[in-house]
C-alpha cells in the first residue's frame, strides 16, 4: 500500500502533525463556549459527559474484553454521591468528585469478582441485572431518607438563575469554590451557567482521557489487552487475572461516576428517571463506544460527537414539517423523534462495513495519505539473526516497515 507522505515516529514532522492535531482539538473546545450558540454549548456538554462515560466503558469492554451493561449504575452512583453529599451534607461539589470516584471504584471492584469467574454473555447478564436493579434501589423506601426515593433529590430552587450549583436545598453553592478566599472560577462564572457546566464536563473528559491513555500505553494496559486476547496466555506471562480485572473494573467504574457527578451538578437535581441512570444509559454508552471504535482511545470521543449530533438534528423530527424534504418520506411515519432508530441503522450498517468503528476506518485508510512509521525497537546486530539458521522461511516480505 503506497502512502502519500511517510513520516518517522518521533521526527520533527511527526511532532508538527501531533501539535497540529492537538491545536485543532483545543481550538474546537475553545470555539464552542465562546462563539457557539447556547444550544451548541449544551449539546457539547452532553457529548462530553457521554464520551467520558463511553471512554470509561471502553477501558473494561474495549480493552479488557469484559462485557458490562451495568455502567449506567456506576454513572448513577456518581450522580447520587454528588447529589446526596451536596444537598444533605452541604459538601463542596468539587470534593464530591474524588468521593464519587472512590465509591464507584469499590462497587466496580465488587462487581469484578463475579466477572473473574464468568465470561461473555453470562457476565453481560450479571451486569445487566446491576443496571436494572440500580434505579429500583434508588426508589427503595428504606433508602428514601438518603436517595429521596422516586422523586429523587429535586432542584432546590428552580428559579435560581445564577451559575451556582443548585442541588437539593442548597443554593448559591458557588461560595464553596473559593480556595482560601480565591475564586479561580470567577471569570468562567461571569460567562453564565451554560459555558460553566461545559467547562466542568470538558475538564472531566480530559481527566478521563488522560487516565485511560496513561493506563493503555503502559505495561498495565498491555496486560488488559492480553487478558482480552487470551486469558490463559496472559496468566502464563505473569498477569494476575483476578487483580487485573478488579482494577480495570474499579477504574472503569470510578471514571464512569465522574460524568455522573457532572450530570447531577448540571441538572441541579437527581432522580431515578434520568435516562442515563437506567439501562438506556448503559446502552447509549455501549453504542457510542462501538460506533466510534471499541478498544481505541479516540473511538468514544468520535462516537459521542456523532451520537449527540444525530440525536440533536433529529430531535424535532416527530413533527413532519421539521424533517428536511428529501428525508420526509422515510421518517414521516414516526410519532417520536427517530434519532435512536437512525442510530440503530447506522450501527447495523457499520457492523458490516466497519466492525472496528469509525476509528477503525480511519486507521485503515489514513495511512494512504500519511503513514507514521514506528520507531524501530532493538538493533539487528548481525545481518543474520543469531538464533535462526536459515531465514528463507520469512515468507512475508510484503508490508515490511522500512
Amino acid at each position: 500500500m503506497k502512502s502519500l507522505v511517510t513520516i518517522k515516529e518521533g521526527s520533527i514532522g511527526h511532532w508538527v502533525l501531533r501539535l497540529l492535531a492537538a491545536a485543532i482539538v483545543v481550538a474546537i473546545m475553545l470555539w464552542i463556549p465562546t462563539k457557539g450558540s447556547n444550544g451548541l454549548v449544551t449539546s457539547a456538554t452532553e457529548a462530553l459527559t457521554l464520551m467520558s462515560a463511553a471512554m470509561a466503558l471502553n477501558l473494561i469492554l474495549g480493552y479488557t474484553g469484559q462485557i458490562s451493561i451495568g455502567h449506567s449504575a456506576f454513572y448513577g452512583t456518581g450522580a447520587y454521591v454528588t447529589g446526596i453529599l451536596v444537598s444533605k451534607y452541604e459538601w463542596s461539589p468539587w470534593l464530591t468528585f474524588p468521593v464519587a470516584f472512590l465509591f464507584a471504584f469499590v462497587v466496580g471492584v465488587l462487581v469484578s469478582f463475579p466477572a473473574s469467574r464468568i465470561k461473555g454473555v453470562y457476565l453481560a447478564l450479571v451486569t445487566l441485572a446491576l443496571a436494572l436493579v440500580f434505579p429500583n434501589l434508588l426508589r427503595w423506601p428504606k433508602l428514601e431518607s438518603l436517595t429521596g426515593g422516586g422523586p429523587g433529590i429535586p432542584n432546590g430552587d428552580s428559579a435560581l438563575d445564577t451559575t451556582g450549583f443548585n442541588i437539593g436545598r442548597r443554593d448559591g453553592q458557588m461560595r464553596n469554590f473559593e480556595i482560601f478566599g480565591w475564586d479561580p472560577f470567577g471569570d468562567l462564572r461571569g460567562q453564565g451557567a451554560i459555558p460553566f457546566y461545559y467547562w466542568i464536563a470538558a475538564g472531566i473528559a480530559v481527566i478521563v482521557y488522560l487516565v485511560i491513555r496513561g493506563v493503555v500505553k503502559s505495561r498495565a494496559g498491555r496486560s488488559l489487552i492480553a487478558v482480552r486476547d487470551n486469558e490463559t496466555a496472559a496468566a502464563v506471562m505473569g498477569v494476575n487475572l483476578v487483580a487485573t480485572k478488579a482494577f480495570a473494573f474499579g477504574i472503569s467504574a470510578g471514571l464512569c461516576a465522574l460524568p455522573g457527578s457532572v450530570t447531577a451538578i448540571r441538572l441541579g437535581a437527581v432522580s431515578p428517571d434520568i435516562a442515563t441512570l437506567t439501562i438506556l444509559g448503559s446502552l447509549t454508552f455501549l453504542i457510542i463506544m462501538v460506533i466510534g471504535g471499541a478498544g481505541s482511545l479516540w473511538g468514544p470521543i468520535i462516537g459521542a460527537a456523532l451520537y449527540v449530533f444525530v440525536t440533536d438534528r433529529t430531535g424535532g423530527w416527530a413533527d413532519d414539517e421539521a424533517i428536511p424534504g428529501v428525508l420526509r418520506p422515510f421518517f414521516g411515519w414516526s410519532k417520536i423523534p427517530p434519532g435512536s432508530g437512525i442510530f440503530a441503522v447506522i450501527l447495523i450498517v457499520l457492523m458490516f462495513v466497519a466492525p472496528r468503528g469509525l476509528v477503525g476506518v480511519w486507521k485503515q485508510y489514513s495511512p494512504r495519505v500519511v503513514r507514521v512509521v514506528p520507531r524501530p525497537a532493538g538493533v539487528a546486530h548481525d545481518a543474520k539473526p543469531a538464533l535462526v539458521a536459515d531465514t528463507t522461511t520469512n515468507s512475508t516480505p510484503e508490508g515490511e516497515s522500512e
Binding site: V211, G214, V215, K217, S218, R219, A220, G221, R222, S223, I225, A226, R228, D229, N230, T232, A233, A234, A235, V236, M237, G238, V239, N240, L241, F247, A248, I251, G295, P374, P376, A377, G378, V379, A380, H381, P385, A386, L387, V388, A389, D390, T391, T392, T393, N394, S395, T396, P397, G399, E400, S401
Partner: protein
C-alpha cells in the same frame, strides 16, 4: 539437587486418569524430551507445571520450592516460561507488543504508576528495546509492527519462543514446537532450541512427536504412556527400550 522434580503427580478429570503417579527429574542445563503417543498426558504434565491444571495429588519441586503452592501468574516470576502447542498469542497485538507482554513479569509499573506516569515511559522504552532485540535474534525483526493475526504458522511459532524468552526464564517448557512446521523449518527449529539453551543458559522441557528432532537434541528423554512413565534415560536408551517400542509400534503378542 535437580532443577525440576516431578514427584508422584496424578491428575484426574472425573473418571479419566490423565496422569497417574508420574515422577521424573530434570537437571540444570539439560534439554529434556517428553515423548509418548497422543493422549499419554504430555500436555497435561505441561499444564500442571505451568499451573493451568491443579494436580489431584503429588508435587512439582522447582529449585526446592513446590510449584503447586504458586498461583498461575506467579510461575513466570519464578523463571518458568512456556510456549503453546496450538499458539496462544495475542492476535490483535503486533509482534513487538506480544513479546512486550512476555516481559510482563519483569516489569513493575502497575495501574497507579501508569495513571500518574511515574517511570512508566522509561520502563516502556526499556521493555520495547529488549523485545525488539529478541525479535531480531529470532529473525522476526522486519515483521515486528505487524499484528500477529494472519501471519504464517511457522512465523507465529517462532514468535511464541520470542515471547517466552522475554520473561528471562531459566526454565523453558516447549509444547510441540515442531507441530505444523515444514521439514526445513523443523531442522532449523532443532538448531534454534540448542542455540537458545546455550545463549540464555536455559533448561528446556520439550514435548515433541518429531522423533528425529527430540532424539537429536535431547540430553535426556522421558517416555510416557497412559499417564505413566514407561522409560527414562538418554535418547539411545529410550529408543532401545522395549516398552517404548511397544507403545509406539505395538507388540506381536
Amino acid at each position: 539437587m535437580s532443577l525440576l522434580q516431578v514427584q508422584d503427580v496424578s491428575v484426574r478429570f472425573g473418571g479419566i486418569v490423565a496422569l497417574d503417579g508420574l515422577s521424573f527429574d530434570i537437571e540444570d542445563g539439560q534439554i529434556c524430551g517428553l515423548i509418548g503417543p497422543i493422549g499419554a498426558g504430555k500436555t497435561t504434565m505441561f499444564n500442571v507445571v505451568s499451573r493451568i491444571y491443579q494436580p489431584t495429588s503429588g508435587q512439582v519441586m522447582f529449585r526446592g520450592q513446590n510449584l503447586i503452592d504458586a498461583p498461575a501468574h506467579g510461575i513466570a516470576r519464578l523463571g518458568i516460561a512456556r510456549t503453546f502447542q496450538n499458539l496462544a498469542l495475542f492476535p490483535t497485538m503486533s509482534l513487538l507488543e506480544n513479546v512486550m507482554v512476555g516481559a510482563h513479569s519483569q516489569g513493575k509499573v502497575g495501574f497507579a504508576r501508569a495513571v500518574l506516569r511515574i517511570g512508566a515511559s522509561k520502563e516502556n522504552n526499556a521493555t520495547r528495546e529488549f523485545a525488539g532485540e529478541l525479535l531480531h535474534q529470532l529473525g522476526l525483526g522486519p515483521l515486528m509492527f505487524r499484528p500477529a493475526m494472519g501471519l504464517p504458522f511457522g512465523t507465529l511459532k517462532r514468535l511464541e519462543i520470542a515471547r517466552a524468552l522475554a520473561a528471562r526464564p531459566t526454565f523453558l517448557l516447549m509444547d510441540e514446537p515442531a507441530s505444523g512446521l515444514t521439514h526445513g523449518e523443523v531442522d532449523e527449529l532443532g538448531d534454534t532450541i540448542v542455540a537458545i539453551r546455550d545463549q540464555f543458559d536455559l533448561t528446556v522441557l520439550l514435548v515433541e512427536h518429531h522423533m528425529s528432532m527430540v532424539m537429536g537434541i535431547s540430553d535426556k528423554v522421558v517416555a510416557m504412556e497412559f499417564g505413566r512413565k514407561i522409560a527414562e534415560g538418554t535418547p539411545a536408551q529410550v529408543q532401545a527400550d522395549e516398552r517404548v517400542i511397544a507403545a509406539y509400534l505395538g507388540t506381536t503378542e
